[in-house]
Structures are given as C-alpha cells and as structure tokens.
C-alpha cells in the first residue's frame, strides 16, 4: 500500500506540466543527465533541478550515479501503485455489482417459474 504521504507527493509531482514534460522526456530516453534533460527545454537549469528534486522525492525519478555523472531514470512504480489502488477498487465494485445483478435476475427467474 502506498502511504498517504507518498501518494500526496506523487499527485503533487504529477500536477505540473513541466514535470510531466520531464517524465515524458525520460520515457522517450531513459537515464539522462541534467544537461541532457535541459537541452531544447524552455526552462532554466535551476527550474529543471527544482522539478527533478520534487520528482525524486515522489520516487517518480530515480537518480543513478555513474562516476561523477548523475543519470535520471523514470520510475513508474508509484503510478502503478496508485492505479492499482483505484482500479482494483473499481474492479471489485464492478464484480460485486455483477454479483448483485445475477442474484436479482436469478431471483426474478425463480419467481416466474
């Protein structure tokens, strides 16, 4: 289970277009350095650094040191955890609804025969 604090961090991190843009760039090309990530972006290096720190705190970006180079990797696991939490719940509800419908219809059938 993802803790409420972590969940909050993930939603906050995802609530910003620039940060989603950084995640998209990592999805297209994983393991980039800060300089590589800044290329062609309409953001200052400082802004990118700040956004990356928030993404790291939310565990959506994982830093890996290779020598003196810091590489950034997209980590979709927290999004998967959130998705399963909500979709899992909906799925259960849908199954229960189907179960109820089945019972109701079978009950109806019993009445007719």
């Amino acid at each position: 289970m993802i803790s409420p604090v972590d969940e909050e961090k993930v939603f906050k991190a995802l609530a910003d277009r620039s940060r989603r843009q950084l995640l998209d760039r990592l999805r297209a090309h994983n393991g980039q350095t800060l300089s590589e990530l800044c290329q062609g972006l309409d953001m200052t290096r400082q802004a990118v650094t700040k956004h990356l720190a928030l993404l790291e705190a939310a565990n959506l970006v994982v830093p890996v040191w290779r020598g003196r180079e810091k590489l950034h990797y997209l980590n979709p696991v927290p999004i998967q955890e959130i998705s399963e939490r909500w979709i899992g719940a909906f799925e259960k509800q849908r199954l229960r609804a189907l179960q109820d419908l089945k019972k109701a219809l079978e009950g109806e059938n019993d009445d007719q025969t």
């Binding site: 393991g31 565990n59 994982v62 590489l71």
Partner: protein
C-alpha cells in the same frame, strides 16, 4: 559497466530477509508475479528459470551471476528461444537496502536488445510485479491482478 536501461524502485515496509525470500519462494511469487515461480538452487553459476506455477511452461531462463543474501541478486535474463545466444541475454540486478523504517528495493534491468519484444514486455511487467510484491508483503494479501495468470499482454 554499461548504462542500465531501466531502474525501478519501491519502498516496502518489511525486512531485507522477507524481500529476499519473496523473490525466490514459489508460494510467494505465484501471488504477485503473474502466477509464476522462479526455480533454481540459487548458487552462483547455476541456471534459473521463470515458469508458470502450475503448467511449468518456461518463459524466462538465465544464470545466477551474483547472490549475496539478503542484499544483492544478479541474474541473466533471456527468452528460452535465445538461451544459447549470450548476446541476447539481458541482466537484472535486485538490490535490497534498509531505508529509514522500510526497505528500498531497486531492480535494474540492462543490456537489453533495442526494440525487442523482451524490452517492451519488461517495461510493462516490472512496475506490476514490484507493486504487487509491495502490496503482498505489506498487507499479506495479493492484489487480484498480480495473482492472476496473464493470458495476454496488457494493452
């Protein structure tokens, strides 16, 4: 060392020993790793295989490269068709580190063939497996979707 292609991290409220055991115990893997088990004697140099818990159909094969319980496990990883072709083997590293009051599990998957079906499969698969493992260890119950056998790749 080549640059890893994918790095997945999850924080689990558990112990390194329990996580280590959960990667190898068939009764655990069948609950979070799409009804599969990992079979090996887990000695360095030994083969391992990822197979369907019930039918035994083998989906992934490889060798144990490094085993330092309960901290670090390195495996090679290939589809059975590529078992003889070392160039097509990728490499998976599990790192288990205590982190504050939880444990940080990092899975690094590298040396993958570009645009291979394996690459596409693992990018969908790892987040599901890791998040399933976290739920199982923290709640004692599997998530319905990870305990189920996957009959076709998720869309």
């Amino acid at each position: 060392m080549t640059k890893p292609e994918f790095v997945y991290v999850t924080y689990i409220s558990s112990t390194p020993e329990k996580i280590w055991n959960a990667l190898q115990d068939p009764e655990m893997t069948k609950q979070y790793w799409v009804q599969h088990r990992n079979a090996s004697d887990w000695q360095v140099g030994s083969p391992w295989r990822h197979e369907d818990y019930e039918s035994g159909k083998v989906d992934i094969v490889g060798k144990v490269v490094e085993s330092t319980p309960p901290r670090r496990l390195v495996l090679t990883w290939a589809s059975p068709a590529d078992a003889a072709d070392a160039a097509k083997h990728s490499r998976v590293t599990f790192e288990i580190e205590p982190y504050e009051d939880a444990v940080r599990l990092t899975v690094t998957h590298g040396e993958l063939e570009p645009d291979s079906p394996m690459l596409h499969g693992i990018t969908k698969g790892w987040p599901i497996v890791l998040s399933g493992l976290k739920t199982l260890l923290e709640t004692g119950k599997p998530m319905p979707m990870t305990a189920r056998r996957r009959t076709k790749p998720p869309q």
